[in-house]
């Protein structure tokens, strides 16, 4: 097994593109190292991207935020501007694993691990986040929801690395939120989860909305119908009930050790209601 810590993105991409055997990108390692120790994977090459310049930074630009691929989730919570603009994304990132894990793990890693239950992904999808992909044929920017294609699978080609996540500059009267259901209080994986992102007009009426569900299908679901029914509303009781129904109906969950189909459907609806209410309040709605 080779471990290499390149100094530039070009070198990292070159190493991965040229790898003969199985290769893996190492940032926080909170998924990779666990899988290696468990004997599930035996990579021939490990490319540690933490020494690449800029990857450990959160940059505030004219367009919004750029979060480097090596930024630990705990650092997201320490960035006051990001916390203020995208509280839902930050609260999702800070639910992953434990305090110790949050000091290592990254949202890009969470995205590329491609678990349907990943905590930060529904929040990123609801936020309309983009991923900057560096690869042998240059850079491209894609929607976050197009990265995972199924449990453990991504759309990334050989040699491609996500170098940053982009979040838009926040409009006024906007808010996002994320919640997951777990039987414990922490140190757990979502049984089902929901992320909602809303923008309101001056009267508190929802102008735009994105609703995402986690652990409800092989990949995170962006529920268009749920977003449409929120738009034009002030999140009255009837709207929230319809939201719960639509979200429950949109789920395509499985029965497994973490929950039943029936349970996931019901709780997806309950969480959608609660999360939408929080996002609405954060957007200044009453």
């Amino acid at each position: 097994m080779r471990y290499i810590r390149p100094q530039s993105m070009e070198d990292a991409v070159g190493l991965l593109a040229g790898a003969a055997g199985p290769a893996a990108v190492l940032a926080g390692g909170s998924d990779l190292l666990v899988r290696m120790k468990g004997g599930f994977i035996e990579p021939e090459l490990i490319v540690d991207i933490k020494a690449i310049e800029g990857l450990g930074e959160i940059k505030e630009t004219a367009d919004g935020f750029s979060i480097g691929a090596a930024v630990p989730c705990a650092v997201l919570g320490e960035n006051a501007a990001l916390q203020k603009a995208w509280p839902g994304v930050v609260e999702a990132a800070k639910l992953i694993g434990s305090k110790q894990v949050q000091g290592r793990c990254t949202i890009v890693g969470n995205l590329c691990n491609a678990s349907p239950a990943a905590d930060s992904v529904p929040a990123l999808v609801a936020a309309g986040a983009k991923a900057v992909v560096a690869g042998p044929s240059g850079k491209r920017t894609i929607a976050v929801e197009s990265v995972p294609t199924g449990p453990g699978r991504t759309s990334l080609a050989k040699g491609e690395i996500i170098e940053a996540i982009l979040l838009d500059k926040r409009a006024p009267n906007a808010g996002d939120a994320y919640q997951r259901f777990i039987p414990r209080t922490e140190m757990d994986i979502a049984v089902v989860s929901a992320g909602v992102n809303l923008t309101l007009d001056d009267k508190g009426v929802v102008k735009s909305a994105r609703v995402a569900l986690g652990a409800a299908a092989p990949t995170v679901l962006l529920v268009e119908e749920a977003a449409q029914l929120l738009i034009g509303s002030k999140l009255d009781e009837a709207t929230l009930e319809r939201l719960a129904k639509v979200c429950a109906g949109a789920c395509r969950p499985i029965d497994d050790k973490r929950g039943s189909i029936e349970f996931r459907r019901k709780v997806a609806g309950v969480l959608a209601k609660r999360v939408a209410t929080t996002a609405y309040e954060r957007a200044g709605g009453k």
């Binding site: 039987p183 050790k257 349970f263």
Partner: protein, 757 residues
């Protein structure tokens, strides 16, 4: 031995204080040595190959490719652990569990093992072992396994305890029955009868430290074993018997222990490590992974229980009956029997009958888990008792007080009780401020009682007084809950010296006589009795030495507060001699001063507890949160109250986990789906409130200080207390443990449907 174990009321100066535990700093700084922390020169890494099938005939094992891999020093199968058990059925089961002989009986059953120069080579070698299985139909559910159509796990098992000897083999290894009176007559006298059925899923002890050992077998037939265990003397016996070694030539040293809770009371992989070492000619370290711990070691029984209780309008129980079915894993057990004994132990009953069925299933061999079998029986009984109180219209605490067992009550499992604590714990709960605290919406309060026998057993200690006047105490019961501190307090109390001058250790099997293991809440009970006896023997010698120093008769020397005191008018002018002064002269007065003790600690006092729990249920998701929890339990005498409280809290914490989320989940293929702490959900710190405790002290008449075992009873009431709290919070009776959110939500939905119809 002229030791008088009877209780004598006395004032204590050391016992009952709370000094810091001597092993605490090492444990929190990482310096303490656990099973995997011991290393020997030239040691190899041992790994075990386990069956992926729940039930399969092992047709052939080909180890030749693994043996040829560079770095592999030994490969073993059952052929290297031949049957030396000589008709001892229980030991044969332990042997077969360590290494499957003809059949793999559960997912995770060991079938072969390797020792190699490093972990990577060992893992590769396991992949090169070829096992030819013939997969058989399997059964993992306790009720399914009892059906006539169920796959038969062992065709040599015919149900014992039936009136007529059965002609066909069965998955039920034994039927047992306890009770007295006539339940039919009793139910005829009842105004109200409650009859309910319950299920509990299988749980694991969840000890944080996995099974770990280092084994070294020498060519001359001697061997060393360094191991994490609750009883190194018992491990020595097991290993010596299974390996054909002489017990005195196998030296077993117990490491610090990161939890056992009954799961480390018999061997799992240690004979395999010894067999590998014997074959390789080098020491072998064998540490289970968490996956192996869950799949192949020590869960408790899954159960299915029917309860029927009847009472008169005035609240007097007239009859109580229960049928208890407990899974044993693939080997015969005695788990339902213990459940049948404990089920109604809290109550004074004229007519009571319990029947237990031991049921074989394709799951790992059931092991003891803290008051084994009692929590499930208490869950069923205490849930039904709450229902009955509700139907009659009596407060559940008053209902229990009215029917509580007392001194002189004939217990449902046979004996007549001496002074016991069930009544006092109930009275304490009735008057506890927790019972009067206000509740918010969706919150409910529940309470329940629990019983455990406690155990004494064989015990041996050595107490040696150094020439500087300090005392070393060697005990043979592994310290699982702070017993070294407690036993040091006892030695200091008896000798009349300061706690800081006593250092207790757990001695290895070659340094001390046989000790039963630390189970049955016996560690502090039995070893404190032996320590008192050893200290009294040492005092006898101290008095003799003082008499010699003074040149007077020993009859004129008394021992008071750590000093020899000359008695009588003739010696009144002699000053006191301290233990330190006598010890300093020991070289000239007859050599080292020591006290030894070997005894069977009879008379472990039975133990009772009553718990109160407040729980909040989220009616939309079925999620629960324990808001407040109080444990009231009789300790007899709390030697070190902080550790007694720790035991109360620990048992309650494990019970809460069991009640709410912990369970073994098997797939249709008979494979365990959740062999890890991510999906086997023991509570994390933030899941629990600070658990309040109240220690009652009703002296055990059979111990000099009145001590009773305290370690186990605290896990008995929580399942029922929480179920009763949930019932009071949202109005549904939960009959299936764990009460996980999906189960609670399903019960709530069913209830809503019932009402909307």
């Amino acid at each position: 031995m002229n030791f008088d174990p009877r209780y004598s009321g006395r004032n204590f100066s050391s016992v009952g204080t709370r000094p810091i535990r001597p092993d605490g700093v090492d444990k929190v700084t990482g310096r303490a040595r656990y099973g995997a922390d011991f290393n020997m020169a030239g040691q190899l890494v041992g790994r075990i190959l386990r069956s992926p099938h729940a039930h399969a005939i092992i047709k052939k094992i080909d180890t030749s490719k693994a043996e040829k891999l560079a770095g592999v020093k030994a490969v073993i199968t059952a052929a290297d652990l031949p049957d030396l058990t000589d008709g001892d059925a229980a030991m044969y089961d332990i042997l077969d569990n360590c290494m499957a002989r003809t059949k793999a009986l559960y997912d995770g059953h060991a079938v072969a093992a390797v020792a190699a120069i490093d972990a990577r080579t060992a893992r590769q070698a396991l992949k090169l072992i070829e096992v030819d299985y013939e997969v058989l139909p399997h059964v993992t559910d306790v009720d399914e396994a009892m059906k006539h159509t169920a796959p038969l796990i062992n065709d040599a098992i015919f149900t014992e305890g039936l009136e007529e000897k059965p002609v066909k083999p069965s998955n039920v290894s034994k039927r047992t029955q306890y009770g007295h009176g006539d339940v039919h007559q009793g139910f005829a006298q009842a105004d109200t009868i409650v009859q309910r059925s319950f299920k509990t899923e299988q749980t694991h002890q969840g000890y944080i430290e996995p099974h770990a050992c280092v084994a070294s077998v020498n060519p001359d037939g001697t061997a060393d074993l360094w191991v994490c265990t609750q009883g190194h003397f018992v491990y020595r016996q097991h290993c010596a018997q299974l390996l054909g070694l002489e017990a005195s030539k196998l030296r077993v040293t117990s490491s610090e222990i990161g939890g056992g809770f009954g799961g480390k009371t018999h061997v799992w992989a240690e004979p395999v490590a010894l067999a590998l070492s014997r074959k390789a000619g080098r020491p072998v370290k064998l540490v289970m992974t968490r996956d192996e711990v869950f799949r192949a070691s020590g869960p408790t029984s899954a159960t299915s229980i029917d309860v029927k209780i009847g009472a008169r309008k005035d609240g007097t129980i007239t009859a109580a009956e229960a049928t208890l079915r407990y899974s044993c894993g693939p080997y015969a057990g005695m788990w339902a029997e213990i459940g049948a004994m404990t089920a109604f132990a809290c109550y004074k009953l004229e007519n009571v009958k319990t029947v237990g069925y031991e049921v074989l299933v394709n799951r790992p061999k059931t092991a003891a888990y803290r008051a084994p079998s009692a929590p499930m029986a208490a869950f069923a009984v205490e849930s039904a008792v709450d229902e009955l109180a509700k139907e009659i219209g009596i407060d559940p605490v008053d209902f229990r007080i009215k029917n509580a067992a007392q001194e002189g009550t004939r217990a449902s499992y046979g004996p007549v009780y001496g002074p016991i604590g069930i009544g006092p714990t109930l009275e304490a709960v009735k008057n506890h401020p927790h019972m009067k605290a206000p509740l918010k919406a969706n919150q409910g309060r529940g309470m329940a009682c629990g019983f455990w026998f406690n155990f004494g057993g064989q015990t041996c200690t050595d107490l040696n007084i150094g020439m500087d006047g300090t005392v070393s105490l060697a005990v043979g019961t592994v310290d699982v809950g702070g017993s070294r501190a407690s036993l040091s307090l006892v030695a200091a109390e008896e000798l009349g010296i300061d706690y800081s001058h006593v250092k207790a250790i757990v001695a290895d099997t070659s340094s001390l006589g046989y000790n039963d293991m630390t189970d049955g809440s016996r560690g502090t009970f039995s070893s404190s009795m032996a320590t008192i006896s050893a200290a009294r023997n040492a005092i006898k010698i101290l008095r003799e030495r003082a008499a010699q120093m003074w040149d007077i008769s020993v009859d004129d020397v008394a021992w008071e507060k750590g000093h020899a005191v000359a008695k009588g008018e003739t010696h009144g002018n002699l000053g006191k001699l301290s233990l330190k002064e006598i010890a300093a002269q020991s070289g000239k007065t007859g050599g080292p001063i020591a006290g030894h003790s070997e005894l069977v600690a009879d008379g472990a006092g039975v133990s009772f507890a009553t718990h109160i729990c407040d729980i909040e249920v989220d009616p939309e998701t079925g999620s629960t949160r324990v808001i407040r929890y109080t444990v009231v339990q009789d300790a007899g005498k709390a030697v070190h109250p902080t550790y007694v409280e720790g035991q109360y809290q620990g048992g309650a914490a494990q019970g809460i986990g069991w009640a709410l989320n912990e369970e073994y989940i098997y797939g249709k293929d008979g494979r365990l789906q959740n062999p890890g702490f991510l999906d086997y959900r023991i509570p994390v710190c933030s899941d629990l409130p600070m658990i309040d405790t109240q220690i009652l002290e009703i002296p055990n008449p059979n111990h000099p200080y009145g001590v009773r075992g305290v370690g186990e009873t605290s896990i008995v009431p929580p399942l029922a207390a929480i179920a009763n709290a949930v019932s009071n919070a949202v109005g549904v009776r939960m009959s299936h443990i764990p009460m996980s959110p999906p189960r609670i939500l399903a019960a709530l939905e069913a209830e809503r449907e019932r009402f909307s119809r």
